[in-house]
Amino acid sequence: MNAERLQGALVRLALFDFEKDLPEWARWGRDSEYLRLSDSGPARQWPLEDMKKYIEENLETMHLFSIRTLAEDRLIGSVDLSGFNWVTGNAWVGIGIGDRDFWGRGYGGEAMRLMVRYGFEALNLRRISLSVFEYNPRAIRSYEKAGFVIEGRARQYLQREGRRWDVIYMGILREDWQDLEKEGS
């Protein structure tokens, strides 16, 4: 594998840069809607130092990439694989487009497809899992386009804005991905 395999038509997956990328993370972290789309835990404000520490402590066990546009090399989000089970060949993918200018335009979708390819091609995964919230239909559509299928639904998992919402579990098998690759080529 080389850097080209991490590059699409709109974005590339780049190595995380502590100096340049962390301040952007801090900016996204002020957007409560972004936090509520990303995490089931309470949206909170963390000092930059804590974010740095979290990444430092987890960088070796998770595969974290910054999502950068090809046009302007602009940082727009991040994507990571974590929670590896090397016996079953499963990992969990998480993605966030922090820069709202790039929501709903296919940038996140392409980054996800690149990450899925990386998981199967470079890490020999058999399946990739994710969870997404019922109130995020844009993400669900995007994941379906990338080849994920809905595998389950944790009913009423989230309590937000005075009501309960489901958490939806999606998965993609290596075979699903291979079929998509064949169609695409």
């Binding site: 089931s40 089970n85 899992s129 389950g152 309590q159």
Partner: protein, 191 residues
């Protein structure tokens, strides 16, 4: 008045872990890989006594941070360790948690339903949770029957080929139980 005895049922008692006494017993149970998967979800393998002790320390840290609740389960008659039950991934703001339980002593498996009732009562009545989930590999039919028939859990999904056991891949079945569902069908446990 509240007179419910949360930690006792007819045959069982919930208690804290006794590190020195429990480690050698639980370590032997991990030869059964269907038991060992409860120690580390991402790698089911037999665990030494040393590893069990370290695992108890990790559980203790989780309990101190209020992220999990873990009980050693003993037989009331002679205080013998028979298994455990645990809630982890507790999210207090959402009122949800992940339930795990197992009886390691093969002769005592008849108490599984009784243990499940104790666990559910504690989770809903004492911790005020709204929802529990349990993920069970497809090969563990006993657990499936237990959660559905005794616990009233609903099958909510199926993670394809997410478990490896006995030489092949299996689906993982996702079960969920909501507080109103439990309240409608609850079975009273008496000590």
């Amino acid at each position: 008045m509240i007179e419910t005895s949360l930690f006792e049922s007819e045959h069982l008692r919930l208690s804290s872990v006794d590190v020195d006494k429990d480690a050698p017993i639980e370590s032997l149970w991990t030869y059964d890989l269907n038991y060992a998967r409860h120690i580390d979800r991402s790698l089911a393998r037999p665990r030494t006594m040393f590893e069990m002790k370290r695992y108890y320390q990790t559980l203790q840290k989780g309990q101190e941070k209020n992220e999990l609740v873990h009980f050693a389960v003993r037989r009331r008659a002679d205080d013998r360790l028979v298994g455990f039950w645990r809630l982890d991934g507790i999210e207090w703001a959402n009122g949800v948690a992940h339930l795990q339980m197992a009886i390691g002593d093969a002769q005592q498996r008849c108490y599984e339903a009784e243990l499940l009732m104790l666990a559910l009562r504690y989770a809903f009545d004492e911790l005020n949770l709204y929802r529990l989930q349990a993920w069970v590999p497809e090969h563990d039919r006993t657990a499936q029957t237990l959660y559905v028939e005794q616990g009233g859990f609903t099958l909510e999904g199926r993670r394809r080929l997410a478990d490896f056991y006995a030489g092949r891949l299996w689906d993982v079945l996702m079960y969920g139980l909501l507080r109103p569902e439990w309240q409608a069908s609850r079975v009273e446990v008496t000590a």
